[in-house]
């Protein structure tokens, strides 16, 4: 019997080094002669740079160089627009160091390179900048008015993109509907906020003429290619490594100014140069996400069936659009969620403001979409006097309706086409896990009779995961029997080294400990894009599976030749390839690797191969000297995961504090490679979702100053705020990829704002509170209670 490895709770290969302090994060690496960088960042949201006097700073102890825009050679080009879109009619990217204007607090203006970070920070204080302040644009609703001051004068508008998507005939659907309900819904600005800030270390290695860069990036190959192009080096002359990375959640995918400036400094000064972002810099220098203002309406028939949805929203793009309009595109495409919306009009404007640029943060436009759709569904249920679960059941896409086309073009340029799912079963399972009907009919009434404000919420979501363009993988069996796997994707905690090893171990039937995954190192794999959009397991996992299957076929062919049997008569089990019925006739994978290579290995011990009589070239036509394969997987379009969450929440109406009693998740990400890892991903996503529902919000004042740029005031929940999370899995395989898997990385973060809104509203029914903004806060809750009451 083959041993089942795929689908098992395998302990992580990553953990021993991380648990003993032997992980290797970028800032852990110190090179001899290393210099340190500190950036002078704009204190103003919008200002012209008239002059910079760095002469005093340059004269300071330990200062090697102080650079402004004029000093940065090839880095004087504008930063790249990574993802163009036809509707992004007014893109705008920055200079790595401000040339003549700054557009948000925190924008890099000058860089000090010194013998230590302490000395570099000392020198920052000696740089004098002559600023001419310009009117800041912060409120995006004001920014779209005709008389608004402009973020970028030469664009002539603050609207970067105007997108309209129409499915069916929404206007007709609304005109004939029994009921139409409107909501204005706001989800506030937030950020991914990994505990490890960004860091870059670069060195020019003269011995082999290679620029080596260690970078906390989620996309090392993208960085490698950018640096090679920018500096006119061959791709092989740039080696980028994303070693252990302390969380990413979206914020670490970009080509940031620091990511070109630090390598340039290493090139120009011929010394290793390191920059480690501090937490304040992270708040004002690493991209944000989330702020959108939606005007949404839903048309339903008298039974609560959706006839149409119309949504117009403003999306805060921040000061620049280096990542295009991915976030609002995702919002627009995913807004209908798991429901049949036959007529749909969605329209957004992406608006510049003098704030940190916006690019994806875990969820990437989906928490917004889910919040809007689920608020509308709750509204329909409440207005029509229907149970909230029932309204959802009436509108779900049915299992026999897949593949299901939403009718819009998704972020990857492909149709928004749901490949598989079983939403009715998903919600049924949730209700069963929750014991929903008993909660509604017995438990909650009993608690309410005691004078307690308890409420129940549910929310459903879909997530387009595993987008292209492609990823690749290389798998090789070494003569030692150890299997080495390389992909282009780095990891920031997602257990790739474990789950990708599981895929290979399953295919080759070898112990998972003998499969070693190398990632995030452009010297090991050169093609691919990176870790984002819940795509690693789907896209790289599939590539790994294809490569492992190819190696398996090679092993079978080789063994068949050697044993002079038909490959169909061979079995792969227990780390060996052998003849069915006569297990002693066969080879271990180590022996097969030796057979594949006609060379001899020093110290290799138990060589399987007897010297063979001459029969022509040692490597016959079509054979390679290794059991190895490189394969690529390119998905036709996204694969759609889904989930349903439920919670019972208690609110103290006197203080506005809330407490979770229970929190349930049913999640369907297709075939599960490692349930332990999937649950971990869900837990973490939920925790960030709770952050986004009640704790985490970035506050800008009207001058564009970020008021809470510290962990004192930006409130990441602690273990005391995050409740126990009860997770159940459903497995509706994806028909699109060889493993049947779907992504899970962002899942948990998506439905929480919708869920908390629903549960809080339910808890506070006596006050007739209506929740339309996220995140809530104790203050906001009291305001709602006191206004409505």
């Amino acid at each position: 019997m083959p041993t089942r490895i795929f689908g098992e709770r395998i302990k992580r290969a990553e953990d021993p080094r991380l648990l003993t302090g032997r992980g290797r994060f970028v800032d852990d690496i110190d090179l001899p002669g290393q210099l340190h960088v500190a950036f002078l960042r704009s204190p103003h949201a919008h200002a012209r740079v008239r002059a910079i006097d760095a002469s005093a700073a340059r004269a300071m102890e330990g200062v090697v160089a102080v650079w402004t825009y004029t000093d940065i050679g090839p880095c004087q080009r504008r930063m790249p627009l990574l993802i163009p879109h036809p509707d992004l009619t007014h893109p705008y990217t920055r200079f790595a160091l401000a040339r003549d204007e700054v557009n948000h607090v925190g924008e890099p203006v000058a860089m000090v390179i010194a013998e230590s970070r302490y000395l570099a920070e000392d020198a920052l204080e000696a740089i004098a900048v002559d600023w001419e302040e310009l009117p800041p644009v912060v409120d995006i609703e004001a920014a779209v008015r005709p008389d608004a001051p402009l973020v970028h004068e030469e664009l002539g508008t603050n609207v970067a993109a105007h997108y309209v998507g129409i499915v069916g005939d929404p206007d007709r659907a609304f005109a004939s509907a029994a009921h139409v309900f409107r909501e204005r819904l706001v989800i506030e600005r937030s950020a991914s906020m990994p505990i490890e800030p960004r860091a870059i270390l670069a060195t020019w290695d003269d011995t082999d003429g290679v620029l080596r860069v260690w970078d906390t990036t989620q996309a090392p190959i993208v960085i490698r290619n950018a640096l090679a192009a920018l500096f006119g080096l061959a791709p092989t002359q740039v080696h980028v490594v994303a070693p252990d990375v302390g969380g990413g959640f979206g914020g670490k995918i970009m080509v940031y100014p620091e990511e070109v400036l630090v390598p340039y400094a290493a090139l120009a000064l011929r010394r290793p140069v390191k920059w480690t972002e501090d937490r304040f810099e992270h708040f004002v220098g690493t991209n944000h996400e989330r702020l959108q203002i939606h005007d949404a309406e839903i048309a339903v028939d008298s039974e609560g069936r959706i006839l149409g949805v119309r949504d117009r929203f403003l999306h805060d793009a921040g000061a620049y659009t280096p990542y295009g309009i991915i976030v609002p595109i995702i919002t627009a495409c995913q807004l209908p969620g798991p429901y049949k919306v036959p007529n749909y009009h969605v329209e957004f404007r992406a608006v510049y403001s003098n704030t940190v640029p916006v690019s994806p943060y875990r969820g990437a436009g989906r928490p917004h979409a889910c919040f809007v759709m689920e608020r509308l569904m709750d509204r329909v249920a409440d207005e029509l006097g229907l149970d909230r679960a029932e309204v959802r059941q009436r509108n779900f896409i049915q299992p026999d309706e897949f593949p299901y086309d939403v009718g819009l073009i998704f972020q990857d340029g492909a149709p928004t086409r749901y490949d598989s799912g079983n939403y009715p079963a998903m919600l049924d399972r949730l209700l069963q896990e929750m014991d929903y009907h008993r909660l509604v009919s017995e438990e909650l009434p009993r608690l309410r009779a005691e004078g307690r404000y308890v409420g129940l919420g549910i929310a459903c979501y879909v997530e387009g995961t595993g987008i292209g363009p492609y990823e690749g993988a290389h798998v090789r069996v070494e003569p030692t029997g150890h299997v080495y796997v390389a992909t282009g994707m780095p990891q920031q905690g997602q257990a790739h080294q474990t789950v990708l090893a599981q895929i290979v171990a399953e295919e080759l039937q070898v112990p998972v400990e003998t499969v070693h995954v190398i990632e995030g190192d452009t010297a090991h794999f050169e093609f691919g894009s990176g870790t984002y959009a819940s795509r690693s397991a789907v896209v790289a996992g599939s590539a790994v599976a294809l490569a492992a299957r190819s190696v398996r076929e090679q092993g079978l062919r080789l063994a068949a030749e050697e044993l002079e049997v038909d490959p169909a008569d061979l079995l792969v089990e227990d780390g060996r390839v052998f003849v069915r019925g006569t297990p002693e006739r066969g080879f271990t994978w180590a022996q097969l690797a030796q057979l594949a290579n006609p060379l001899r290995y020093a110290y290799a011990g138990d060589l399987a191969v007897r010297p063979r009589p001459w029969s022509g070239p040692a490597l016959p036509q079509g054979r390679q000297p290794a059991l190895e394969a490189t394969e690529y997987y390119s998905p036709p379009h996204a694969t759609w995961a889904s989930g349903a969450v439920g919670a019972v929440i208690e609110v103290d109406p006197a203080t506005g504090l809330l407490q979770f009693h229970r929190l349930w998740v049913v999640h369907d990400c297709g075939k599960v490679i490692n349930p332990m890892v999937v649950e971990g991903q869900i837990h973490g996503g939920i925790a960030q979702g709770i952050g986004g529902a009640f704790y985490e919000r970035l506050h800008y004042d009207e001058n564009g100053q970020l008021l809470n740029a510290s962990f004192m005031d930006f409130l990441i929940p602690t273990a005391m705020e995050i409740p126990r999370i009860e997770v159940a899995h459903l497995e509706t395989p994806s028909p699109l990829n060889p493993l049947g898997v779907k992504g899970v990385g962002e899942a948990g973060a998506i439905p929480l704002p919708a869920l908390v809104a629903a549960a809080v509203e339910d808890a506070l029914r006596p006050f007739q509170v209506h929740v339309t903004r996220m995140p809530l806060s104790p203050d906001e809750l009291l305001r709602l209670i006191h206004t409505e009451a």
């Binding site: 970070r117 501090d278 004192m712 104790p778």
Partner: protein, 294 residues
């Protein structure tokens, strides 16, 4: 986020410390536990020329029973106070409130004197000291003086201590007989500075049915910890009933004029101060009745 340069001093006696302080005056900062000071140094929000580390000054350590209360040396770590059986028995309000100070790894370093001298209006310990009507003993090369808590805390991060004075010791009086105390606070997350915090001491009349005296002190509602004097006056002689606590809460809302910040509006603080007043008085009175002392 690295601190600017400073000259470091680590005196080992109180006299040497006071001499240094007299010489360096405003150019020096005292380093106690550093849990509030070092973040400000790292952010370069304060940049003293000199830091005087107090950790080796043995005269500043220790918890002693004195004058019907407990005197705590300035350099006593908050964690030591949290673990002290003497504090738990004699100053239960302090024992209760100190668990709300930051987190465990903050309290292991943070000191009593540091917190009192820092005078953050959202910090628990100044509120406890005021609620108990305690005192602060200041020392300088010029001599020593004792200042009542109500006079010590002046405004945000501002106290009655002169630049050449250090907080030597903090004295918390024990509760009178038939008294109970309680601490409540509302914070955004566990361990955060309170949005509103309140400490109460309720002393009952001989029959246990009326309030003989009450003290009610709030943090995070002004530039310094404040006593709700009108509510306290109204409580004197009032019956031990829910209505009494409710009325006290209403008075609190009238007499406090809290500020707004990112985390809570003035309205929120005023409202919740009333809610907490009601709850904390009820709790303190119940403890007084149960003779638990707490």
């Amino acid at each position: 986020m690295k601190p600017a340069r400073f000259v470091y001093h680590a005196p080992t006696t109180l006299d040497a410390t006071l001499q240094l302080l007299a010489e360096l005056n405003v150019d020096a900062k005292l380093l106690a536990g550093g849990q509030s000071l070092i973040p400000m140094l790292n952010m370069r929000l304060v940049r003293p020329g000199h830091l005087i580390d107090l950790q080796h000054v043995s005269e500043l350590a220790g918890i002693h029973e004195r004058d019907g209360g407990v005197a705590i040396g300035a350099m006593t770590r908050q964690r030591q106070v949290e673990r002290s059986p003497l504090v738990a028995e004699r100053i239960p309000l302090l024992a209760e409130a100190i668990r709300h100070v930051g987190h465990l790894p903050i309290r292991t370093r943070g000191t009593i004197g540091g917190s009192i001298a820092h005078a953050d209006p959202a910090a628990e310990l100044p509120g406890v000291l005021l609620a108990l009507d305690g005192t602060v003993r200041l020392a300088s090369a010029r001599g020593e003086r004792t200042v009542a808590a109500r006079d010590f805390f002046v405004d945000i991060l501002t106290t009655a201590a002169e630049p050449d004075e250090l907080v030597r010791e903090v004295w918390f009086p024990s509760l009178p007989p038939r008294s109970g105390s309680a601490w409540l606070e509302v914070a955004r997350r566990h361990g955060d500075y309170a949005l509103v915090g309140v400490g109460a001491v309720v002393t009952l009349a001989d029959d246990g049915q009326a309030v003989a005296a009450a003290r009610l002190c709030f943090i995070s509602v002004a530039g310094r910890p404040v006593q709700a004097t009108q509510a306290e006056a109204a409580l004197r002689g009032a019956p031990v009933t829910p209505a009494t606590w409710r009325e006290a809460g209403a008075l609190v809302r009238e007499e406090l004029d809290p500020p707004a910040d990112l985390h809570a509006s003035a309205h929120y603080r005023r409202h919740v101060a009333g809610v907490l007043a009601e709850r904390v008085l009820e709790l303190a009175a119940r403890r007084a009745q149960e003779g638990a002392g707490r």
